[in-house]
Symmetry: C2
Subunit: 724 residues, 2 copies
Amino acid sequence: MAIAKHQSLSGRSPLHEFLAPDAIAIVGASADPTKRGYKAMVGLIKDGYAGDIYPINPKADRVLGVKAYPSLEAIPGKIDLALICTPAATLPGILAECGKKGVKGAVVLASGFKEVGPEGAALEEQMMTAARAGGVRIIGPNTSGMFNLHKQVNLLALSNVKPGHVGFISQSGNMLLSLVLEAEHNRHVGFSTYVGPGNQVDIGFNDYLRYLGEDENTHVATLYVEGFRDGERFLEVARDVTAVKPVVVYKSGSTEMGAKAASSHTGALAGSYAMTVDLLRQVGVSVVQNSDEILPVAEGLAQLQKAPGKRIAVIADGGGQATIASDRLSEAGLELAELSDATKQRLREVLFAQASVINPVDVAGSTDADPALLATCMEIVADDEGVDAIFLVGMFGGYSIRFAEHLLGDEMRGAETMIELAHRIDKPLVIYSLYAPVKPPPLRRLHEAGLPVYSSLELAVRVLAALGERGIYLKGAAEQVPAAPVVPHADQLAVFAKAQAEGRDLFEVEAKALLRSHGISVAEEILVESADELGNVAAHFGDQALVMKVVSKDILHKSDAGGVKLFLRGEVALKDAHEQIMRSCKAYLPTAEIKGVLVTPMAKKGTEIIIGVSRDPIFGPVLMFGLGGIFVEILEDVAFRAIPLSRHAAESMVNQIKARKILEGARGEAAVDKAALVDLLLKVSSIVSAYPQLAELDLNPVLAYDDGYAIVDARIIVNRKDAI
Amino acid sequence: MAIAKHQSLSGRSPLHEFLAPDAIAIVGASADPTKRGYKAMVGLIKDGYAGDIYPINPKADRVLGVKAYPSLEAIPGKIDLALICTPAATLPGILAECGKKGVKGAVVLASGFKEVGPEGAALEEQMMTAARAGGVRIIGPNTSGMFNLHKQVNLLALSNVKPGHVGFISQSGNMLLSLVLEAEHNRHVGFSTYVGPGNQVDIGFNDYLRYLGEDENTHVATLYVEGFRDGERFLEVARDVTAVKPVVVYKSGSTEMGAKAASSHTGALAGSYAMTVDLLRQVGVSVVQNSDEILPVAEGLAQLQKAPGKRIAVIADGGGQATIASDRLSEAGLELAELSDATKQRLREVLFAQASVINPVDVAGSTDADPALLATCMEIVADDEGVDAIFLVGMFGGYSIRFAEHLLGDEMRGAETMIELAHRIDKPLVIYSLYAPVKPPPLRRLHEAGLPVYSSLELAVRVLAALGERGIYLKGAAEQVPAAPVVPHADQLAVFAKAQAEGRDLFEVEAKALLRSHGISVAEEILVESADELGNVAAHFGDQALVMKVVSKDILHKSDAGGVKLFLRGEVALKDAHEQIMRSCKAYLPTAEIKGVLVTPMAKKGTEIIIGVSRDPIFGPVLMFGLGGIFVEILEDVAFRAIPLSRHAAESMVNQIKARKILEGARGEAAVDKAALVDLLLKVSSIVSAYPQLAELDLNPVLAYDDGYAIVDARIIVNRKDAI
């Protein structure tokens, strides 16, 4: 009986062949209890693995009573998976053997490859060559191992690990142990497949995630990640998987100190944490920020209905914890649902006069003599259309311990009501009980029926937040059509080609022309190559205040070179400015090749925005949005999204930054035109998708107004590599 | 055997008389198991209370076998404490009886007083009158009750609560239950005294805290607070108590949503959360921000050495958790200690080659065959002078479970080494083990020896942070001489008197003169009452650019009234400006009484600072410091300190704000003169202490420079009440 519905991706990842193997060889099988080759044998035998086990040990006829073989070659049958327990130096040879024997996957425990230096890197290359030649896929190296409990494949020989529906991929073996112990002692979940991806020389997080997405025994894919290798591909897979089942990621390296430690651990680049979190959330991943949250959130997402929104009804039997719940909900970005008058009336009818029927509902003693009334209150608020999730807070399960034994019957009745309610409604019931550590019968009943009971109010709120985020993501996901690429103009392609040929980036005037040609509103600019044209230019712009800027591929910092003049009106001023600019730029860099000057109307004052695009080595093209000045430089208050953006992604990034209050018109100023900014972000996304020649783009600043915006400066860095 | 030393305040709070009572009356004692009057009787009898128990019940001769009395009057002996289980309406009469009988304290369970409206308020007043007349102190009303386990006074009749050294005062009864259950199932601590202060009509948090400070059975005072009544007094008491033992406070209402819920729960104003936290930390309180942290932090502070600083050495047996530890330490403001070459060399000698001896130390398998080596590593890093605390992270205690049973002996040996080390050094050992839920013998041994073992890495880091903060506070506390009040000038007192008589606040010129007279650097200003003086004024200031501002008690917003002119040079400009100001101010408010204009040199550009003082209804005079503009308005990035400030407090508030990077010269600008700002804060503190007539003070903006500062605007609000 499950409360959440479970779906999986269709498709057949090649990983199934060896993560659910029918025959396993243990290279380095041993009778020495301290060896991994012993433990793996014990794990397979004890758990009753139904496939074939082939110990490889040239010095023994049998290992733990199982016939041993001197080599892979000597094995009569086919082999799906090889666990290789021997040192790094043996790996190229063994993998060549694996290839010959048709082994599909190898778990490589050894470390001592690229992470230790050039010699290790050479060894790694040899191993990979052998593996590729023989078509053998590699788990690891430097992996803690794997298990698939639904196939009784327990290569880690963990003794108290229960089969269940949490799939776990972890670059930390200790983290697996920690979750297993937590599951055993404090939760009611078990595991499906575990893999330690180690240094990911071959199979990466994206491959494992697709496998878990397809695996019907996995109801939630849970990942502890120190570093991604192919982040761009991971995002694609995650988008597919989150559409059918929850994906929980804990990413370490949230601080510089942690990122340093992580990179010395796995040799992977940690990447920017804030960016990684934004990109994962963009594709519907539930990111948890503390390791304590991993299992509770995974359990909640696997077992409970997602919430259709953020409006939580709290039912509490103590005012203090009602207050704490309110604080934590608010900090998590959730809201206290406003209960309808009808709901309040119904609550009043069942509760004492001193109870508070304004959310958070505090029963104020009403349930001391009948704890089943808590379930009744949950039923009442569940009927309210303004409620997206129900949060029970307090002593439920412990009334018979705290007050009187005869209350146990009422509590069991209450538990049944809650279970029935959970199956009836499309909203989650999240239950925190301070008696959870005691595991009294009513709470055991809830657990067994698939309703988790949390022993921490704070962790329960993390679960509520994850359920709400997932519900909101899935509602929005259907409309998430990513912005299509523009069609590149032949003349713009020529501009890139010219810049590449000349070994330079685009001139500002070219960058702006590109943007303009693709429908982005950029103020008119005139490139003036000779002072003689200034009369016409002055006439053209009339009374507007103008800016003049030098155009030269050799001058990067125009202001420093005296290459910018402001507040110019009329021909005389323009000519004066032109002369000064030419003089100071030549003084600044006598060898500079000066193409001319750019004349454009001065932008009126507005809110300074920065939009930047770079091609991240892990995640591919990424767009950054934020306010200028201290917001980006001091507060690092920026949002990231992978390109291409959907409208939903563009809107959410504008609303994510802390400085959104300024965009919304704090400090007595008018709100800016968010719709125009969203439109701009989508257009930038479409342009970047269309031009692989574009390596980086910076619009800094964009001035946002209450109607529209002005792009004051635009910079496009050209990809200097010919082949893209 | 204790690892931390334990001290208490000398002194004798009147609360001892009834919180450690020799005779207790139960008003409303009952044989009905659902009644509090029954439970309290059971609690006293079962726990073996050695004093006299007097049930009061006019309808029974005996209650639970104990002789009952019809009234308090009928009791032969003296009574220290009365537990009153009857409804609100009975309280005035019963308290009058208590007074006659010489009862020293009464626990009032009933609710239904001021929190329910005017009738309840009247009842409360009657109860208080009776209590005061008879000299009876009141715990509550609306209290969950109290216990003193070292006197076997268990009025709550909790069954599994263990005597110990955590004193707890909580406005939430559920929170007590929650901590008791947590202590029973996951920790090794017990409790000394618990009190629910309820609505604090008489005894408040400050009184309870002093009692816990004096109580030798209490090693840590722990408080769950929804609202303080007399915060100013609480800070004084807390300063005394934190000097001898740790004080842990969880304050609810950290968000607007939570504050609203709290105020409906206890009727107390929650107050500004950010301010409350700053003021509590100023007096050495360990503030925890999650309810999950309360007991772990209390346990750690009670049992472990405080840390002399923030430099942590991490010993981990897994790279993943070493990374997580680094992230959490960094987020908590702690540092990874830089190990000396000698330390690294010694670690290398005991660990495998692949181990990382750069902090976080990752033993990388070295301890798999000898877990006692972890203790050796702890001994090695403990010798390093650059290490303030040692953090063990990983599987310790579970090696015999995970690897081989024979390792149990090594683990026990390791545990003994850790215990011996803990007693030898002045640095804390904080231990996180993923096997903590299993409670294996090595971890039980550590617990029994007074070394807590945490089952959450994240909570262990909170403990480390609290130990570090406490150590640093106590090091600084000795020099914490609060700034002495200035001696008020007779003429300045006259200025206040005049303003009070005229029913106005100080004019800006008066406010600035006050500041200047007490040694604060304020630019010269000339009050010009007639245009004829402007020639001399112009001559006086020479070539400087000047500002002219209107002086009128009737014009609050000078700029709006056209009452401010900038960039004035020379007599003509001054006269022009004067005429314009007079004209527009008269147009703005024809009835305005205009005293003249103020002329002063324009301040050069600098970093905008705001300094504000208000008299908080709960905490008394409080100083606020922050950067101007968006920092205060949008980001609420400000620091608070209670007045008087010590130099340490002033320095810490300048360094607390997120925008300190700007003060330190981010964005290519020069760092501001922090010493001058600290000096200014101390002077403001001294002035506010000396003038009770001063209700509020605002220096906004102060412009901070690389040498000194300029006070551009100063506003002093006068206390309009005559008697202060």
